[in-house]
């Protein structure tokens, strides 16, 4: 028997790639799949029920068998049945889905943080230790990883199907997602929100490494400057240290140890200082004036790139004392470059 080579190729491909489900490569994946199978079960049962009713009635009451229709008005009992049972099922699905949602979108507090910037049409990942990746992401197994993501231009969406996680990457605001990879290997990263011409080229690979391999990778691929160090340079070159020097007479509030604290603002509200707050306070300072300070800070909207903002946020995050800020101030007044020696590192 002769099978055309094209068809043969196709059949081979079919057999090799007949996966019906993506791999389960994160701790969340089994939870997502469980709900998926439950929903699939309801669908199949529902479809079977409707099918049996339709075909059963069609055979039993077809015209040859049942030439005269018997008029029936309806039945409150039946109506109630097919109102309440689907409603109950849907409510179960709702609760289950909500639990899963909070599991996926609430990162554990000990998660390691990686920044992701989406832009037309690439993903930039920035590790706090100064590893920069484009359309790639290296993560270790067994550790929760939180991604703090922002877009430089339009809406993007960061999706790793094998981890069952996805989150919109929005311009002007951090969004987060987290996962804990379980199996070493490489997995697809997709941009799933349509973002212009090369939307389908905005893909990448996440490489999951064992903790040892990951440490090796970290050391090999660092750029030599951590994000916080970049931030320190930027902090000095933008002149932030002039006001945020930490001294008692400074015009801006002390930033050492501010991350994670609660701030009292002039408008009377209290805020938790997190990444989003720091970013917004740099861009829209007047809406975030710490109590006791004057609204004199200029806006840096349009002057710092998202990478720069991430560096600054990382720097402020890690800042424990103002010693180096004041050092920088004195050195920069004596017209020297900012120090490049590794200093403040994220714990």
């Amino acid at each position: 028997m002769h099978i055309s080579p094209v068809l043969w190729q196709f059949l081979v491909k079919w057999l090799n790639a007949s996966a019906l489900f993506p791999r389960e490569a994160s701790t969340i994946a089994p939870y997502a799949d469980a709900l998926y199978f439950f929903l699939l079960l309801i669908t199949v049962v529902g479809l079977a029920l409707v099918g049996i009713l339709i075909f059963g009635f069609s055979i039993r009451y077809r015209k040859e068998k049942h030439p005269v229709a018997i008029q029936v008005e309806g039945s409150t009992l039946l109506e109630a049945t097919w109102t309440i049972i689907p409603l109950a099922l849907f409510l179960i699905v709702f609760v289950w889905g909500a639990l899963l949602y909070f599991r996926i979108y609430n990162p554990p507090t000990n998660a390691m943080n990686i920044y992701v910037i989406g832009k037309q049409w690439m993903w930039k990942a920035e590790h706090p230790g100064g590893q920069h990746e484009i359309n790639a992401l290296h993560v270790p197994t067994g550790r929760p990883v939180q991604l703090t993501m922002i877009s430089q231009d339009v809406f993007h969406s960061f999706s790793i199907p094998d981890f069952r996680v996805k989150r919109e990457v929005i311009p002007g605001r951090y969004s987060t997602v987290w996962f804990q990879a379980t199996t070493p290997g490489t997995y697809h990263i997709f941009c799933t929100q349509y973002c212009g011409t090369n939307h389908s080229a905005m893909i990448g690979e996440v490489t999951v490494l064992s903790p040892d391999d990951y440490d090796k990778w970290t050391q090999e691929s660092t750029s030599g400057m951590s994000l916080a160090q970049n931030g320190e340079r930027l902090f000095a070159s933008m002149g932030c240290n002039a006001c945020h020097s930490g001294s008692a007479a400074a015009r801006g509030p002390n930033l050492a140890g501010v991350y994670g604290s609660k701030l009292q603002l002039t408008n009377g509200s209290q805020v938790l200082v997190n990444d989003a707050y720091l970013r917004d306070a740099i861009l829209n300072p007047s809406q975030h004036i710490t109590a006791g300070y004057a609204p004199i800070m200029p806006t840096y909207q349009g002057q710092i790139s998202e990478d720069g903002l991430i560096d600054l946020v990382e720097y402020i995050k890690a800042m424990q004392s103002n010693y180096r800020v004041q050092q920088t101030l004195t050195t920069s007044t004596s017209n020297q470059a900012a120090p490049t020696t590794p200093g403040v590192m994220k714990p």
Binding site: L283, N284, P285, S286, Q287, P295, I296, M297, P298, T299, Q301
Partner: protein, 254 residues
């Protein structure tokens, strides 16, 4: 509704059917209504449904205003102070007067007084045009002050009010940029409103002409009534725009 209407209602089955057969021979528009009353109510109801779409149309803008006013309250306060309350209040009065004339016009049509109807329609038009005139003056002032959003928009007045002889507190530069959001919404909302006014005035010319020809002098008043609904709706939009844009942002704490 009280059932007494049934007794007083002039249209009986017989007259309706008689009128009906006449129409089958001579198919003319609106042949499909059986009675005038049915046609009048259908027209009113249709007009109201159209006004519902208008509510939702402006609804989107009102929501945007509500959101950004709360986000950028300080900017909204100072930019709102740039608007002239006397002009706004005068315009409100003008528009209410125009609406009053329109209501009287509807009455004149209903009691079939052709001369009065034409007079009130003309008055409605005059006050409508006056409203647009005042609006044009206000827009012109915004143009001169560089308060029209876009490339020429200038925030220096809000950053450094003393230099312009204003008593406002200066805005931080980032907040001053947000005044553009206010002015954009100001122009979008009043512009959309003015656009409806212009459409309405165009319709008024047409209706005045028809009224002058005596088309509404024999009990057929649906166009006048329905246009009245439209005109009053446009008034109502302004009744909300005036306080939102001119009045409620006068005090920083509000």
């Amino acid at each position: 509704m009280d059932n007494a209407i049934v007794a007083t209602h002039p249209h009986t089955h017989e007259t309706a059917v008689a009128a009906e057969h006449e129409h089958v021979m001579l198919p003319q528009h609106r042949h499909h209504f059986e009675t005038k009353e049915q046609q009048r109510e259908a027209a009113t109801f249709g007009m109201w449904l159209f006004l519902l779409t208008e509510i939702m149309f402006f609804g989107g803008l009102f929501f945007a205003y509500l959101l950004y006013r709360n986000w950028y309250h300080d900017a909204f306060v100072v930019s709102s102070n740039q608007l002239s309350i006397p002009l706004g209040a005068a315009n409100t009065a003008i528009l209410i007067t125009s609406g009053f004339c329109m209501a009287l016009g509807v009455w004149a049509a209903e009691v079939q007084k052709k001369g009065l109807l034409v007079l009130f329609l003309v008055l409605t038009t005059v006050f409508g045009v006056a409203f647009l005139g005042v609006k044009a003056v206000e827009y012109h002032e915004k143009w001169e002050k560089h308060h029209i959003p876009g490339a020429h928009f200038d925030v220096s007045e809000f950053i450094n009010p003393q230099a312009y002889g204003l008593k406002e507190k200066p805005l931080a530069p980032d907040m001053a940029q947000k005044t553009q959001v206010f002015f954009f919404l100001y122009f979008a909302m009043t512009g959309m409103h003015a656009f409806h006014m212009i459409l309405g005035i165009g319709l008024l010319f047409w209706l005045t002409w028809r009224a002058h020809r005596g088309e509404f002098s024999s009990g057929y008043v649906a166009p006048i009534e329905n246009f009245g609904l439209y005109w009053h709706f446009v008034d109502i939009v302004w009744l909300f725009l005036f306080p939102l844009l001119y009045l409620i942002n006068r005090h920083p704490g509000s």
